[in-house]
Symmetry: C2
Subunit: 329 residues, 2 copies
DNA sequence: AATGTGTATTAGAGCGCTCTAATGTAAGAA
DNA sequence: TTCTTACATTAGAGCGCTCTAATACACATT
C-alpha cells in the first residue's frame, strides 16, 4: 500500500479511500492511485482490512450435509441474496455431524464472519444462543422459539399433516414414519405425523422408526418396517434422501410402489423430481428460505433489531408417482 | 489478550505462546493462562494472528457445482485429509460458472488462504497459473500439462475408452457422446471417445452433442439425439448428472433402456448407484483424488517442491443396468 | 569462581490496513 | 474583506496478534 502511495505521490490514507471507493476523492487522484495499484499488481489484504475495520463483509454458511441436495438448493437462495447485498459467502462443511458443525462455526467466529447462517443444524439451542452473542446467526430449516437467534423454516408440523391427510384420503391407515434422528425439523415432523394420525383416529397405527436423513438410514429403516408383522401400506420418510433409500429397499423386497406401499418424502429436492424417482413429497420454498435468512441477518447487521424473528414459510404437497391407494386386501 | 495476560499476571507474549501451544512454557504458567482465558471467554482473533504470522492454516476449496454429488464426494476426501493435517477447509461456491469460480478464488486469495483446491474448474490454465503465483493451487478433476500448478485427476481418456470398449463389446456401433461444454475433463473424455471409436473402426459413427454437465443439459442433448434420423443405440454421457437427464428423456420418449438404448455415465456418484437409476458408469476414486490434492498442497506448503506434479488415478468401469446389447434390428 | 548451556519469560517492533481528527483549499455568503 | 461551508487530503494511532532479540535464571562443567 505504501508503495502504491509513493508511486502515485499521495498518502496511504488516500490509497485506502480509493481502494474501498469512498466518496470525496478527486477523480484525478483516483486515477493516479488506480494506475499505480495496477502497475504494482497490488491487492488489498483483507485480513488487515478486516482487522482494522472490525468487519469482514462475509457471511459464514454452515451446511449440515453436502450430500443432501436440499442444502445445495438452500445455498442457491443464500447466494443470490448475498450477491445482491455485496456480502460474500463462505461455506463450512458440517459433515453431517455435530462436531463438524461446531468446528465450522468456530472457524467462522475466529475469522470474524459478520454473521452466520446455519442450515440443518444439529446443534443445541443453548449452544446456538451462546454463539449468537459473538455474531448474529440465523438457523435455517429448524424451528426454534429462541428469544435470541432468528430462524427461517417451513412449518413442518403442517407439512407432516399434509402428508398424512393425503395418504389418509387415498385410503391408507397403517402409515409409518421414518424420522431423521438428530436432524433439523425432526421433532416437528414427527409431532405433526402423530397429531395428524390421531386426528384421523389412527392413533393405534402410529409407528415411528429411527432414521438419520441419509439414504442408508432410510434403507435400514424401511427394511425394519417391511419385516414387521403388520407392515405399513404407506411410509412417510423424514426427507427425500431417506425416502429414496426406502424406495429402493421396498422395491428390492419385491413390493410394488405405490401398488403395495406408498412412499412420501420431504423437501422436494431435485432428487424427488427425477423422472425415475418421481417421489411424492413436501415442497419447501428453498429460494425463499435462503433469501429470508440473509434478510434477517442484514437486519441485524445494518439496522439494530435485537428481537428474535422467526420466518415461517408454507409447505406444499407435491403429488407424484410414489403415492396411491393401498392394496385392496 | 492483554486482559488475559493481566489476569494471569504474565506478559501478552506468554499468552500468545500458550494459545498456540508452543513448547518451553512452564506448566504452572500454562495453567494460569488457560484459566484466565477461560474465565474471560477469550478466543484468539484469527485475523490478527494471520496478519502477524502470515499464514492461515486454511485451505480454500472451490467447488464448481454443489448440485453435483461428485463434488460432495471429492470434498469428503479433502476434508478427511485436511483434518489429519490440522488444516481447516473453507468452501467457495463456483455456482457452475466461470464468474462464480473467479469470485471464490479472489475471496480466498484476499483471505490469504495458504493454498487452494479447485475442483471441476472452468477457469483457463492461464488464469490458474497466474493465481498460483499468489498461493499454491491444485486443480482436481481436470487434466493439465501446466508446469506451474499441480493436478489430481483420473485419466479421462482411458475412462472414455473403457466406456466405448464396453459398448462395442456389447455389439453397439452407433454410439453418441454428450459432452460437458466448458466443464472439467470434457476435452479428454471427448478425445478418448473419438480415439476409441476410430480404433474400433467406427469413425463414421462419431456423434458429439453438446451438454453442460447438468441434468437439464443431458435432457436437452438426449432429445436432440433421439430425434436424429440415425439415432444412436448407445449414449455415452459426460457425467452421471447428464446421464440421468438423458435417461429420463429417453424413457419418456418410449424407448426401453437398455433394450433400445444403452446409457453410460461418468463419475460413479451416489446418484448412479441408486437402485432406481442403476447407471453403468466410470468410477473416479474420489477419496484418493481428494487426499492426493491435499497431499500435493502440503508438499508445497511444508516442503519446498516447486515442480508441478500431476497425480493421475485409474478409472474403472462399473457395469450396472443401463447398458446391454443393442436391439436386433 | 568463572564460564557455558538450556529453558522460561518478556519487551516491543511489526503485520497492512482503517478511521478519527486535523489541515488545506476553494467557492459562496455576509 | 472576513467568515462559513463543503470538499479533498493527510498524519498517525490503533486493530490483536506473532516473532525476534534480549534478559533472567538454574544448573552443570571446568
Amino acid at each position: 500500500m505504501q508503495q502504491v502511495a509513493e508511486l502515485a505521490g499521495v498518502s496511504t490514507a488516500l490509497v485506502s479511500l480509493v481502494m474501498r471507493d469512498a466518496p470525496n476523492v478527486s477523480d484525478y487522484r483516483r486515477q493516479l492511485v488506480l494506475a499505480a495499484a495496477d502497475e504494482l499488481g497490488y491487492r488489498p489484504n483483507v485480513l488487515a482490512r478486516n482487522l482494522a475495520s472490525r468487519r469482514t463483509q462475509t457471511i459464514g454458511v454452515v451446511l449440515n450435509d453436502l450430500h443432501n441436495p436440499f442444502f445445495a438448493e438452500i445455498l442457491d437462495g443464500l447466494q443470490a441474496a448475498a450477491d445482491e447485498s455485496d456480502y460474500r459467502l463462505l461455506i463450512g462443511n458440517g459433515s453431517h455431524s455435530q462436531l463438524g458443525e461446531e468446528r465450522s462455526v468456530e472457524t467462522f467466529l475466529q475469522f470474524r464472519a459478520d454473521g452466520l447462517v446455519i442450515a440443518g443444524s444439529m446443534l443445541s439451542d443453548d449452544l446456538l444462543e451462546r454463539t449468537s452473542r459473538t455474531a448474529p446467526i440465523v438457523v435455517v430449516g429448524r424451528t426454534s422459539s429462541s428469544k435470541v437467534f432468528d430462524t427461517a423454516n417451513t412449518d413442518d408440523q403442517v407439512g407432516a399433516r399434509l402428508v398424512i391427510d393425503h395418504l389418509v384420503a387415498l385410503g391408507h391407515q397403517r402409515i409409518a414414519h421414518i424420522d431423521g434422528g438428530r436432524g433439523a425439523g425432526v421433532i416437528e415432523r414427527r409431532a405433526g405425523y402423530r397429531t395428524a394420525m390421531r386426528a384421523h383416529g389412527l392413533g393405534e397405527h402410529i409407528h415411528v422408526v429411527r432414521g438419520d436423513f441419509t439414504e442408508a438410514g432410510g434403507r435400514k429403516a424401511a427394511q425394519t418396517l417391511m419385516q414387521h408383522d403388520r407392515r405399513p401400506t404407506a411410509i412417510f420418510a423424514g426427507n427425500d434422501l431417506s425416502a429414496v433409500g426406502a424406495l429402493d429397499i421396498v422395491e428390492n423386497l419385491g413390493f410394488d410402489v405405490p401398488g403395495d406401499v406408498s412412499i412420501v418424502g420431504y423437501d422436494n429436492t431435485a432428487l424427488a423430481a427425477m423422472h425415475h424417482v418421481s417421489l411424492t413429497t413436501i415442497n419447501q420454498p428453498t429460494e425463499e428460505l435462503g433469501r429470508a435468512a440473509i434478510g434477517l441477518l442484514l437486519e441485524r447487521l445494518d439496522g439494530d433489531r435485537t428481537k428474535a424473528t422467526h420466518h415461517v414459510a408454507e409447505p406444499e404437497l407435491i403429488r407424484r408417482s410414489t403415492s396411491g391407494s393401498p392394496p385392496a386386501s
